[in-house]
Symmetry: D2
Subunit: 429 residues, 4 copies
């Protein structure tokens, strides 16, 4: 399970210090299937990280894999700029039939550079162009990417510090629950929006995550989301739902905003949208906002055709009926039970998140890191989240068999028990 | 060759108006191999666009394809965040052995979000962080991407206008040749850099393309590039070579800056770096500039492992010896001859570019568009470039067989002849 | 009292539409003395505007006037750049002796361009240079001037809109009382400052007015001001007290922040600091922040020597002992009583402000304007304030004789009575 | 002539280190008349600095002084916000009659905060609002003030560095002569304006000084100014002439742009506009650009009524006929002869500037400083200018008697001779 120095040598020698996840999981992975990864020594790991929610359908889903091999075998287009390809057509049609139409969404699809950050950049540009305003309202602990436009909307000071330049054009408001239970933070937003001397410039957009993944698995209440949406509408701002991490079934429905019943003007997608972990970025936009001219927002890899192949399979396989949503709901219960037990084990700890996007705030980044490190020793890939990395986060593939889910949760609980007990004091401040 | 309405219906119905290339090539492509693409009617096209230089090794190279199918068959990692994988290791080693070491480059590799824009964003952030300065000098007609940080460095007003917000932190200087033959534009750069009251803030970086692909195939003279490099060094700025379009053999050497003998602080790569057209972005940086902390510049798709598979094959197959470079040189001559003939045919037209990155300024965007449209009718995919789209651009795969190259060029010449003659007046103003 | 068209002709013909106060007081003033102004028809007016608190010692104070005539007669320096002059020396010594030393302030004086906005610009630059940070925190409804740097800190959307460009570098927090009685807005400030992922960049400064003059006479509680000061200190930000309108005795003490016992890093002054209404701007700064190099912040009129003459007299005459402070306190009571009566007269109206900086929120800009217009007809110059101009504002000279003060207040009450009664419904929404 | 420590003590103790001119002229001035200043020891100095062109009519002009004393004696308004006063009316009428009408200018007057920087800020805001664009083009070595908006347009890196924040919204172009004799820098401006991919955003305004005072007395050729004006017009940009230092007769005509025959959209004025050295700022704007709403650009001291009193006298006394212009022309010849002699004395030195705004580039800041210091010892106040302070600058009052002018020039020549000779090597690099 430990890595031989000779193996990682090249990483240390030639890979930038900006590398990160590899530091917590010191091995070299070689293959993966479903909910499990295997390293070069043959050791297998249950994956509770799932590419940070990019692998909601697990690794190497057999149907997507077969379709992609077939595509390759037939010399299907690999790279298509934004030319029309049959593959892209099939994806759009599947997305229209199984995702948009059943939800009454008339949104169009804008294929953007294949990253979430690029989707956010595009959405912010569209909102600014549509409204002729520049100010975008984002929320405390929001994470939207690290390219300059998206980074301005991101709250994390470590990432912001990397810019080396000012991050302009964004006003920050407190997310739901930010000021504790007594305060509805939408009051602050409303008061500032309605006061002509508040200093808050009229917003082009409000960008919000239904659940803040990187920010610590903060789940907004549906009524708060609806109020934010309604304030956006009232004040002429477009509502951008950043569903990059919370979408594609992660919170139970296909979209993270379905529970609240929102009808966003713009939706940003990436991560699991290709189904297979392949790079793909997507903006859904209401037709009336489809005002970018040809190539006005362009990019070489808008047509990652391999991603369209697997994305189509993902939609058809998992979202043609409600069976998968029921699976997710059942598995979410399993996760909730397991994590509730974890929370109960640690004084002051509490459960966070929603659906299959859950975690436990254990009170300190040190403790969370220790639990995750111990779990990795025992064959589980699991990460932390939150401003101080104080949340042990479970982002298992949504397809994880119940038994595997149970096994993984048991590893977490054991790890926590090992660290907390016997008689150990855990400083959780 | 024409597209049935029913087929493209879904694109018109559901794809954003921001789509672009598909407007010029009105068909639906289904497969591609080497230098040729096939559409759903079975019609084949010679490809002189090559994914805007993302397919330097052609479509579905058989060795890369085989390696990728094998990887898939074996459940190799598809998405690896930035975890260590054997696939990534193999790529880095190949890149070190065949690219970096032979060129005496001690650069490290920073895997960034899989787009060129993301590589540019990362490079600009690094330069700003390293120097503690914010100003980045870029050049007229430069194209570096459309996310907010990169877009500030991009010259094209159409793309800039999409921002909807000010683009700050960049000073624009005239590129080589911009003021005509009598003026060495590096004089202006030098004068402003050396004058404490010029209003040009001390630069964090100078970012330059060896050949400006989108800007109209402007090729900088080696001595101009060297002078820019030397001014950067003298004034404490990092030299960023944006080799996204000019790199990976496009201009004859692996890097577009080799001819000039530059040793850039930072190199941005994307497009053809994966070899197969798969999304991949890369920053090469001198070890002393490797100061980004873990995940300070992060992103979900930094580990597009499929791209590592094909990128390794590309390096090993094409860059282990100098055979490929010789092929490129020979083909570049063929292209030069063909395009010289084109230039000779049109009053005032002239050849531009370098290596296999060539074009002809035909004097107006209308004429260039007409030539390309006619060529497409005759089975050639070819595009325009330049501030007014006035350049007919040839970006054929570097692997295009000489005969196919000749055929494609003949189509261009015929198209031009059809349009220009007989006796037709071409207004080329 | 009405203006003949022929008289104002030249204003309409040649003065920019940006002119403002003259629109509410349609006459041409010719002379003024103490608390009264006279127009060209010989009509006199009690002045409850006092140059927006620039004439705290009244018009043409006889001692200042005598000193200035003497200075002129002797060919004293009128314009001295920032050369040493005896006049400047005398002013600094008086300010040191009567203002700084008794208050235990070791601040230095930075003479800036002779406007409040310039003082704010200088203070913001100093704070940014001292801390190496860019973010300045300002408050809802704050007004700090309309040059680009200061305007970023100003809340009023009408003024902000005049910029025609983005206003960057400032984060807005709710002022004391902004969210109503139940919420201590300093909690929001504290939470965001202490959360590394709040998206609030580490502040260079917090800029705050003890009482917001333009913002509607919002008076911060001393304990709130102290908490803001303490948060600034804790988080490495400089505390800038903008005392331009609230200073020079307006709230009862010389400085508006004395009641709260603050020790600001930087204090901005203008308006009444010259005593005579002459342009003068001043930044007080703790010696450790005196890091601007010679002329780094420069300006032609930093040495308005006439202003130094009158400013010295003002300090010596009014602040050498506590007699004047007692006068202010007594007059403040008179104003409070008068305005309480006004507030009682209008449903929902309430008293605002502190010291001699008081007003009544009458619920709507229309009503406030009507009251002021009627009062002007009856010989009183009085203005409105607040985001909707909904506050009838009394900024009488601090030297106004009690009897005159009473007369002026009676005019306001009569005006309100005329408008409200008989039986009139006042819609105050 | 030297200052006793006890005298300057208070300046060192209590005045900010940002003080500047006083460092070069170490004495304390007490009075001044015409072209001469007197210090506390009774020593007199000829003034070749003239408040940096703020005292074009000399110190304490007897007619202005008499008018101001009379105004004071009569309790004339000192501070009038922007209320109508008879004093302001008289000034506007005089300005209309003697300045605007004879020159066929239909411009309106916008009274702004009483500094040049404020006039520049207002002009930039107006241009941005009128055009809906943000980019302002300014020139190398331009100086427009140090508040944030104006500072962005200022070239000097020392001043720019004081901002502590990025300076956005301005593009810098080379001023006339910047690239030496062979290059017409307007070519660069034209090429970039006409190229849609130059990266130069469509400009809201071009701001230009007819002669760059702080930038080293660079005088633009009339044909270059006309070409810039014509490019502004062609590209929809407003032409702002910053006449703050070059205006009010300094270059021979009332406006610095008259020689070139420009009709600027906006003219910024300050410095000598009050005639007496009192703070006053003014923007002249064509009626069609008078689109700022009431108080949209506001400020407390827009109505420095004392300045209106003296400004009116200045206009009526000096600009009612052409006598003064003839005096200036004659004196300009005297200055030119004297400075030509200075230039001839120093290898490589050369004459700069125009009218009574002249100087000699002596090749190094050290030499220029030495000459000025020596001249001060001999009773002359004279300063340097330019990016390296390498220009000995003569800005004598335009009213300086010919004999005094000769005396002052003789002091400069003697000072230079003392330093250069005998046989001394002057390193002028």
């Amino acid at each position: 399970m430990t890595t031989q120095p000779t193996e990682t040598n090249v990483f240390e020698r030639r890979e930038s210090e900006a590398r990160s996840y590899c530091r917590g999981f010191k091995t070299t992975f070689t293959s993966a299937s479903g909910s499990e990864m295997t390293d070069e020594s043959g050791q297998t790991y249950i994956d509770f990280l799932a590419g940070c929610s990019s692998l909601n359908y697990g690794h190497n889903d057999p149907d997507m894999k077969a379709a992609l091999i077939e595509h390759l075998t037939n010399d299907g287009i690999a790279h298509g700029l934004d030319l029309h390809t049959n593959t892209k057509k099939d994806f759009i049609e599947a997305f229209e039939r199984h995702i948009l139409e059943p939800r009454g969404m008339d949104h169009k699809l804008m294929f953007v550079g294949p990253t979430g950050a690029n989707a956010v950049e595009a959405a912010m540009k569209i909102a600014r162009k549509v409204t002729g305003r520049t100010n975008v309202i984002s929320f405390t602990n929001g994470f939207h990417g690290v390219t300059l436009g998206a980074l301005a909307a991101t709250g994390n000071s470590y990432h912001r510090g990397g810019a080396g330049i000012e991050l302009n054009g964004v006003t920050r408001m407190p997310y739901d629950g930010y000021m504790g239970e007594g305060t509805d933070t939408a009051d602050i937003l409303e008061t500032m929006l309605e006061d002509k001397s508040s200093g808050m410039d009229a917003p082009a957009a409000i960008i919000v995550e239904p659940v803040q993944g990187e920010g610590g698995l903060n789940a907004a209440r549906p009524e708060w989301l609806r109020r934010v949406a309604s304030l956006a509408k009232k004040h002429g701002a477009l509502l951008i739902v950043d569903d990059i991490q919370a979408g594609c079934g992660r919170t139970g429905d296909f979209f993270g905003f379905e529970e609240a019943g929102l009808k966003p003007d713009l939706v940003t997608m990436a991560k699991s949208v290709s189904g297979f972990g392949l790079p793909m970025g997507l903006v859904l936009l209401k037709p009336e906002h489809d005002i970018m001219g040809p190539a006005e927002h362009n990019g070489t890899f808008r047509g990652n055709t391999h991603a369209f192949v697997t994305a189509r399979v993902a939609i058809e396989k998992f979202w043609a009926d409600d069976a998968f949503a029921k699976d997710i709901a059942r598995r979410a219960d399993i996760v909730e039970k397991g994590l509730s037990a974890l929370a109960a084990m640690i004084p002051g700890a509490y459960l966070k998140g929603r659906g299959m996007m859950r975690g436990v705030d254990v009170g300190s980044g040190e403790l969370a890191a220790a639990i995750c490190a111990k779990a990795f020793e025992n064959g589980l890939v699991i990460e932390t989240s939150g401003p101080e990395d104080e949340v042990v986060k479970v982002l298992a593939p949504l397809t994880t068999p119940d038994e595997t889910l149970g096994k993984g949760l048991a590893i977490v609980l054991d790890a926590a028990r090992d660290i907390v007990e016997p008689g150990q004091k855990i400083a959780a401040e």
